[in-house]
């Protein structure tokens, strides 16, 4: 009997009787969904993304077009499926009309696919940076005000070839879409400048023992380009140091971010002097950046310097609010006017002006950096130069760029 009763209780719960308290919205609020990784190994990154988004919300005093902003959080574990499930809950259950997120590359592609089935909802990217989120088969209602992983590499290939004098480079990267995009971005310029990439190692995500991979890298390359993130980067770098690696390194955007630079260990010997490129630079001394860092630091649990996830979520959220102001909070026509406002939006961010191209992907500044030791002995990314207003095709003619094909293990290639 107790079982039948339990069944009934559970099913009564499932009828939706518990839902109204959650779905009820007050008249003068606007709901914005915030989708990030609040569970699993990427939790720290997701939380920093949230800090970035909340920095933007606080900047506007939690108000958009006179209405209170209500943030509804959705959580994924960085797998595409969980991201879609969380987006579905935010849209279909919580009834958000604007969603900011997700965090990682393949999540972005999955959410873009989902966006196509929800034409009345506006999706604004968090920090996901795969190229095809906006470049191939884009969704009309998916906007990216942060840049993609290939854009982040702007200037690096040329710099490595011309200024550093590296003629041949081997690459080591994880085996999924974001590192493909990064390697593509690096090689697009490096190969064009005349460089050669004789060896590419694609390593399974989460591999812990890189010493065999390191041993298999040819001895005669001038440098090694490394696009690994988090624990993988730390493992590679410390084992590279242990094995007495001599070739200098070139970093992908997340290979030399604060999560890696602050990790304990003997990484600094191999890291100092590593050039890299990305949407932010730790030693950016513009006033706008400094103000942003100050505002960011007011968030609970903030890092000494905002990660690029905080930066990307900040920009996405700010765009969402600015466009709401523009249309006076009017989403009544299925958000059509709102999306037109978004598409035309052009605003100043802590890292320069941002506007969108025809695919609703950002055109923004990219920073060329080099790892150095600051006055306190911490490793930071020193700004070397700014590459102004990089677009998604890296300045190459779009048709020509498209002809290069989708990024993959074997594309591009210049052996």
């Amino acid at each position: 009997m107790s079982i039948t009763r339990r069944t009934m209780l559970a099913l009564a719960l499932a009828t939706g009787l518990v839902a109204p308290s959650i779905t009820m919205a007050q008249a003068e609020t606007v709901k914005i969904g915030l989708l990030a990784t609040f569970e699993g190994a990427f939790t720290v990154l997701g939380e920093d993304g949230e800090r970035g988004a909340m920095t933007a919300v606080d900047e506007f005093g939690s108000k958009a077009a006179g209405m209170d902003i209500e943030i509804v959080k959705g959580s994924s574990d960085a797998s595409p499926d969980s991201a879609v499930r969380a987006a579905r809950k935010l849209v279909e259950q919580d009834g958000v009309k604007i969603l900011v997120g997700p965090l990682s590359g393949d999540e972005g592609i999955a959410v873009k696919e989902y966006a196509k089935t929800q034409p009345d909802v506006t999706f604004i990217n968090g920090s996901s940076a795969a190229q095809d989120t906006t470049f191939r088969e884009p969704a009309e209602n998916f906007f990216r005000f942060s840049t993609d992983g290939a854009q982040w590499m702007a200037g690096l290939g040329t710099y490595a070839y011309n200024d550093k004098g590296y003629k041949t480079v081997a690459t080591v990267a994880e085996d999924y879409s974001f590192p493909y995009t990064q390697v593509f971005g690096f090689m697009a310029e490096f190969c064009k400048a005349g460089g050669k990439v004789p060896s590419k190692s694609w390593v399974p995500i989460g591999n812990k023992d890189y010493s065999s991979v390191i041993a298999a890298i040819p001895d005669d390359v001038d440098a090694i380009y490394v696009a690994l993130g988090g624990a993988d980067a730390v493992n590679f770098l410390s084992q590279y140091q242990q094995s007495g690696g001599q070739a200098p390194l070139i970093g992908g955007s997340i290979t030399v971010d604060q999560t890696v630079l602050t990790s304990k260990g003997k990484l600094r010997d191999v890291l100092i002097g590593t050039p890299a490129a990305g949407p932010t630079a730790d030693t950016n001394d513009s006033q706008a950046w400094k103000d942003f860092v100050e505002a960011y630091k007011k968030q609970p649990g903030a890092f000494p310097s905002p990660s690029l996830f905080a930066h990307a979520y900040y920009i996405g959220m700010k765009a969402a609010i600015l466009a709401l102001d523009e249309v006076g909070g009017d989403l009544s026509d299925g958000g059509k006017k709102y999306r037109e406002a978004l598409a035309k939006l052009s605003f100043d961010t802590p890292t320069g002006k941002v506007s969108l191209d025809a695919n609703r992907n950002a055109i923004a500044d990219i920073y060329l950096t080099e790892v150095t030791e600051d006055a306190d002995g911490n490793l930071v990314n020193k700004m070397i130069q700014t590459v102004q207003q990089v677009n998604q095709t890296l300045g190459i003619d779009e048709a020509e760029f498209r002809a290069l094909g989708a990024v993959s293990r074997d594309n591009p290639s210049c052996e």
């Binding site: 009997m1 079982i3 069944t7 099913l11 499932a14 499930r85 999924y176 995500i205």
Partner: protein
């Protein structure tokens, strides 16, 4: 022949039947009318999804409850069917996608899943008891890593997206109501089949083998064949759920068949209970509700602690509401404890 072995269980079944005679009718009526009161979200993302997970857990319940084989690879088996849908049906990932119509791709996927299930079963039944859980965990994990790293067949980490449910009989079957009824029909069919099957000759033989494989072998039953066939049947159920899962998500990627989801299925089955086929569905509803609304109530950060503790409490306390796994296992444990295992079959 071995009726004596079943007598302890018989009254339990009978009382269940008595109780659920009316219970079935009420439950059926409620589930049929559910769409009248539920929102689209509760219809698919809670209702449909619970039934899909419930079916996968049911396929585990079949093996564990009747066959004494606890498998952690059921989500992998469902994944086989889902990947077949993606590879042989249509997808928009520009890899494979042979465009087979659903009425070929879906049965083919289910069949292939059952075949894989039988193969896993054949590997696992060569050893017995607790070994099964280890071997299936190893199989599940290896399959996950392989799917994640292989691009030629599985399209690696991103997997496949753009999978569409069929449009047939004038309906698009991913619309909330049709999809709900589709899930309900499949789940009810699987449920009834397991309920009926457990009382069939094969079901009774399987339970007898679970209780005393040595005796059954001595009488002349092919123990291995019976077990492998049970795996095949369980694969049919998990495969059907896998097809629905592919249509539900519109995509399939290694994340769906990772270690976490594999263990999740076990949690669902244990929370619900393995004594009766309704248990897995019960567990699925509870877990899906917890998973969906935890973020609004306790925050998503410590969700796993919550569900882990819940699971531990149930394993420890195992009240009657958890459909009596222990009653099933304890007698056999007491009868031939581990000391008497070296009987040619035990570990």
């Amino acid at each position: 022949m071995t009726l004596a072995a079943f007598t302890p269980a018989a009254p339990v079944r009978k009382s269940w039947f008595e109780r659920l005679g009316i219970g079935h009718v009420l439950l059926g009526a409620f589930l049929l009318l559910y769409p009248l009161i539920a929102s689209d979200f509760f219809l698919t993302t809670i209702g449909g999804y619970s039934m899909i997970l419930g079916m996968i857990a049911l396929s585990l319940m079949l093996l564990a409850g009747y066959g004494g084989m606890v498998s952690l690879a059921q989500i992998t088996i469902a994944g086989v069917a889902a990947y077949v849908i993606a590879i042989f049906g249509e997808n928009n990932s520009n890899v494979h996608g042979f465009g087979w119509p659903w009425w070929i791709a879906a049965p083919f996927g289910i069949f292939l899943a059952a075949l894989f299930s039988a193969m896993f079963g054949w590997i696992a039944v060569r050893t017995e008891g607790i070994y099964t859980i280890m071997i299936t965990l190893a199989i599940a994990t290896a399959s996950f890593y392989f799917a994640q790293q292989n691009y030629t067949l599985f399209n690696g980490f991103p997997g496949y997206s753009g999978l569409r449910a069929p449009e047939a009989f004038g309906l698009y079957w991913r619309e909330p109501r049709p999809f709900y009824y589709l899930c309900l029909a499949c789940a009810a069919l699987a449920y009834a089949a397991v309920l009926y099957g457990s009382r069939s000759t094969f079901g009774l033989t399987l339970q007898a083998i679970r209780d005393n494989p040595r005796r059954m072998r001595a009488i002349g039953y092919d123990v291995t064949a019976h077990k492998v066939f049970a795996w095949f049947l369980s694969g049919l159920i998990a495969g059907t759920a896998g097809v629905l899962l592919a249509w539900f998500n519109g995509r399939i990627s290694p994340g769906t068949i990772a270690v976490g989801p594999a263990i999740n299925i076990l949690i669902i089955a244990i929370i619900g209970g393995l004594r009766h086929p309704i248990g897995p569905f019960l567990g699925a509803v509870v877990v899906v509700l917890m998973q969906t609304f935890a973020i609004d109530i306790v925050g998503a950060e410590r969700f796993n602690t919550l569900i882990g503790l819940f699971f531990l409490v149930i394993v420890f306390v195992s009240p009657d509401g958890i459909l009596g796994l222990w009653e099933r296992f304890k007698p056999s444990q007491d009868r031939d404890g581990w000391h008497s295992r070296p009987d040619g079959t035990g570990v």
